[in-house]
Amino acid sequence: MVENIKKVRTAVIGLGKMGLLHACILNVLPNVEVVAICDKSFMLRKFFQRVFRRVQFADDVADLAGLDLDAVYITTPIPSHFAVARSVFANGVAGNVFVEKTLASSYDEATKMIGLARHSKGTNMVGYMKRFGVTFAKAKEILSQEMLGELRSFDAYAYSSDFAVSDRRSKISGSRGGVLGDLGSHVIDLAFWFFGDLELTGGTLSSLTGSASEDEASFTVRGLNDIEGRFNISWCKAEYRMPEFGLIVQGTKGVLKVNDDEVHLESGQEKSKVLFRHDLGDNVDFLLGDPEYCREDECFVKSILRGERIEPDFLTASKVDYLIDEVKKKTAI
């Protein structure tokens, strides 16, 4: 059922890289109107007022109330997600809320956000955009068809060189949510999507600078039917020019390898099969950054218009926060 909204009136809160990216994509979607942008920085507001010419600017979330908004995007740094979301709901800014990953900086905050969202009765979503990548979606399809037989184990990795050389690593690490929140959350979410609930069995979280920064994580999990999983996450891998995310899944009938670029299936007696992005229909109506972002925003907007739930919602995404909390609690830097 489509509600009587001609255009989804939207505000973006937090004008960093992700805020700018979503604002630009939303501005191109036919059934969305970006009407307001909120950012604490005076300089950013002043600069972007010249660029977003028919958009209202605010420095406080409460100022967005009264703009008759249908949706907000929260794209501020992770540690502020909870406070911003609380203000959005408390001030009745909008009922439909998109939060960039991770949902919150702790599971406790995440559960409070679920409660707030439930009360508002709108659509909510968390920006785990890898689910909208064609290769990971294909892998999910292969796993759902049980082509690997009974699943035995998986190895998940997320590597980047973002802080391979940086004297400001510890300062930035905190504001970005540490390596688990910033980088690892993508593959943790994919693992939940692929395998269902997972429980931490051990691991280590390391700082490479000697300070309290979280730069590398390695941990193990156990899931349904005793599947064993291993995660390796680091943003200090100099050889990774671009961030890379992937999983290798072992089943009784074969092996599946998937990353952003390709899906590789070795199953039974059949010849191994490789599918690239090119083979999987990767075009979108408007490409900015990766195609995943456009698909993600389109799905959120469609769900608002139809009054439907969309995955990953706050509840689903809170599992990632829970596992990250567990890793932090049970492993010492």
Binding site: V28, R176, E239, M242, D260, D282, N283
Partner: protein, 296 residues
């Protein structure tokens, strides 16, 4: 028809497989080697060099300045080098940190014109002046690296900037960019992965397609041709007056050069093709085949 050698392999870029790119990044580390690949491509039929302006490509230009025997090597530059800027934004804590870094670089460049325009832009928070400052800075970096051995034919906005101007309908900024470049005798260019949208906006903004250069993917499998391969082909067929350079013709290594060339050869209205090469043998094969298929 222009055949250009591209720089993606010099940065270890592969849109087909990051694993492959990493492996290649491990093996290609020498600026001299990369410059030699450009020279081999030129000797085998390439007409010019298309590159993102980075420390790597500026160093390659410095080698070409010494080793390129002819003069006025046609250059097609793309700014900014988005990968470096996105990484800087990540490492410096966001857009403000990045802006501070770029401003510092311009201030220390000693380019008086850039500094004067930049100061005006900062005081008034004038986006056009800030863009001009940045363009002056990049043009100056290119020219001081290549000297008289090269001729900057086009300065193109990187796809990230192009797509942002499209999404936000920044006609005034695009016009300002086009006018500024034309006054300097350089063709204003746009790299895009939303080709039909770019053409439709440029027409709406009454910007003469004859005066600008567009670099956009064209390949048999429709890779990065948005919203669809058919839409991109249809748009190209409608604009004989344009200067469109096909990029990603190999679909990031998914296609082999003969089938890639077969496809672009059949497209109407293309004015150029850019292909990156990572080995001497590629440089020989690629540009000889392009010349042969185009009967030139």
């Amino acid at each position: 028809m222009k055949f250009l050698v591209g720089d993606n392999p010099f940065h270890g870029i592969s849109h087909l497989s990051q694993e492959r790119s990493r492996a290649r990044g491990d093996t290609i580390k020498s600026i001299d080697h990369d410059a030699q690949l450009v020279l081999t491509s030129l000797a085998n039929g390439a007409d010019g060099f298309m590159f993102s302006v980075s420390e790597t490509t500026l160093s390659i230009l410095e080698v070409l300045r010494k080793d390129y025997k002819a003069k006025d090597l046609p250059l097609y530059a793309i700014v900014p080098y988005a990968y470096e800027y996105v990484r800087l934004a990540t490492q410096s804590g966001g857009i403000l940190g990045l802006a501070t870094h770029v401003a510092r670089n311009i201030a220390f460049s000693g380019n008086i014109e850039a500094m004067a325009t930049g100061a005006k832009g900062l005081i008034r928070m004038d986006v056009q002046s800030l863009l001009k400052t940045y363009l002056i800075y990049e043009i100056s970096r290119i020219r001081s690296s290549i000297g008289k051995q090269g001729s900057l034919c086009s300065l193109m906005l990187h796809e990230l900037i192009t797509e942002i101007t499209l999404s936000l309908d920044l006609d005034w900024l695009v016009r300002s960019f086009v006018d500024f470049m034309l006054k300097r005798g350089i063709s204003p260019g746009f790299e895009t992965r939303n080709f039909p949208l770019l053409v439709s906006k440029l027409r709406k903004w009454k910007i003469d397609l004859k005066q600008i250069t567009i670099a956009t993917p064209f390949n048999r499998v429709g890779f990065q041709m948005n919203p669809s391969k058919i839409d991109c082909e249809k748009t190209l067929a409608e604009i004989p007056e344009s200067n469109v350079i096909a990029m990603s013709i190999l679909a990031a290594g998914y296609l082999r050069i003969p089938e890639a060339v077969e496809y672009v050869r059949a497209l109407p209205n293309l004015k150029g093709v850019v292909v990156g090469v990572s080995k001497e043998s590629h440089a020989h094969e690629t540009f000889r085949l392009l010349r042969e298929k185009y009967g030139e």
